[in-house]
Amino acid sequence: MKENKKLQVSAIKDGTVIDHIPAKNLFKVIRILGLMNLENQVTFGTNLDSQKLGKKAIIKLSNKFFEDEEISKIILVAPKARLNIIKNYEVIDKKLVSVPDKIIGIAKCVNPKCVTNHEKVKTKFKVLSKSNVALKCLYCEKITDEEHIEIII
């Protein structure tokens, strides 16, 4: 069972593998999770073949495990991402990204007259729809739908 499929990026002993990231959003995932500031070993591969996504990216993090809330932030850019939790070279758990109730400071409000686009205010959204992510701004109360979501970090 443990024999891996063709390894596209080298294996890790303990940590987390984030799979099924759309290739074009790899660097957004890195920024949202703040991976550039980690001291841990991080390897990633991108433009890998994927049946689901066309081109996908994958990130492997040694000795790094995420709380559900932390990882849920990437829902905006990698809704189909899958987490493999690795202990001693074995996948001991698999998780999907859960949809958070609120999104803070990651996306831009679509309303040009919103205070968050003029003052130094962290954006805050309530997540309305769990299937097609729609965000309701907690300041101007306007809705930013999935196709207009712009990541600002």
């Binding site: 003052e119 101007c140 109360e141």
Partner: protein, 302 residues
């Protein structure tokens, strides 16, 4: 409600709305009381709105409070580029309550987060104007004796009119039936229809302003703004279709009252003004009592 900001009409529950309306009735009977003695109310109008500002200032004066502030941002430090954050933090040190109007949407919510004292939103762009909604509710309750089970007609700009949207949400607590009359370009947005569907509130949409108004308990008229049309010809046409004239009121219900947030353009003909069903000028006066109720309730004085 004590010490809590009023930014959006959904900040108040049905019970809290009822409490404000009862208090407004009390202030209508006893308008002059010195319960705000020693209190300083900051009135920050980052954009001018004489009507709303005078209504608030009248409410504060009748209660014996003091007012500091500015009437439009060109005369304040805001023109020197001070951030909203800094203005609010500073003013909240000098005052017991802030009343603010600002062109940016969400500005009042942001102010309520950085202020040490409660904030009353007197209009944030096209977003919310909850004191207008409460005075509309007070006017409806006063003229109908109740807010429950009313047939409410909303006419004009139902797409962009923030007073319409807030009124819908607030009235939905009271089992209404809504009838929407508007040009197809100014229809009620889908997101509000979804909310009404979820709440199980009945509503009907019409594009013609006809004798269906004979069923109305309340007709809430709004103005159609020129800016909403890219084609000036279409604006001229539309603006003359949704006009209420005295002759249209012949077969309407005895208890019908006509409301309008004012100022009007031409959507209510002046020949309606002397009809006893015209209520829009009294409605404006009700704003003072409603604001007295809101201010004294937030300051914990009533």
């Amino acid at each position: 409600m004590k010490n809590r900001s009023l930014v959006s009409i959904d900040d108040y529950s049905k019970e809290e709305i009822n409490r404000i309306l009862d208090l407004a009735e009390y202030f209508e009977e006893n308008p002059n009381q010195k319960i705000l003695e020693g209190k300083v109310i900051a009135s920050l109008f980052f954009e001018p709105s004489t009507r709303t500002r005078l209504s608030f200032e009248s409410a504060v004066n009748k209660l014996g409070g003091r007012i500091i502030g500015f009437t439009d941002s060109s005369t304040s430090s805001v023109t020197k580029g001070e951030s909203l954050n800094d203005t609010i933090r500073t003013v909240s040190k000098y005052s017991d309550l802030i009343v603010m109007r600002h062109p940016l949407e969400g500005s009042a919510r942001f102010a309520s987060e950085v202020s040490d004292v409660p904030v009353i939103n007197a209009g944030d762009g096209a977003n919310q104007h909850p004191t207008q909604t409460l005075l509309d509710l007070y006017s409806i309750k006063k003229t109908q004796g109740t807010l429950e089970n009313l047939n409410v007609f909303l006419v004009g700009d139902l797409k962009y009119g923030r007073t319409v949207h807030s009124l819908l949400i607030a009235l939905s607590n009271f089992n209404p039936v809504f009838n929407f009359i508007s040009h197809e370009k100014l229809r009620i947005p889908d997101e509000y229809k979804l909310i009404l569907d979820e709440l199980g509130v009945k509503y009907y949409e019409h594009s013609e302003f006809t004798d269906i108004i004979s069923k109305a308990d309340i007709i809430y008229m709004t103005r159609v703004q020129k800016e909403r049309f890219s084609d000036p010809v279409e604006y001229e046409k539309t603006k003359n279709v949704y006009v209420l004239k005295n002759s249209m009121l012949e077969n309407t219900k005895e208890n019908l009252k006509i409301l309008h947030p004012l100022p009007r353009v031409n959507e209510i003909d002046e020949d309606v003004d002397d009809n006893s069903k015209a209520y829009y000028f009294t409605q404006a006066l009700n704003g003072v009592f409603t604001r007295q109720a809101i201010i004294s309730s937030i300051l914990g004085l009533k």
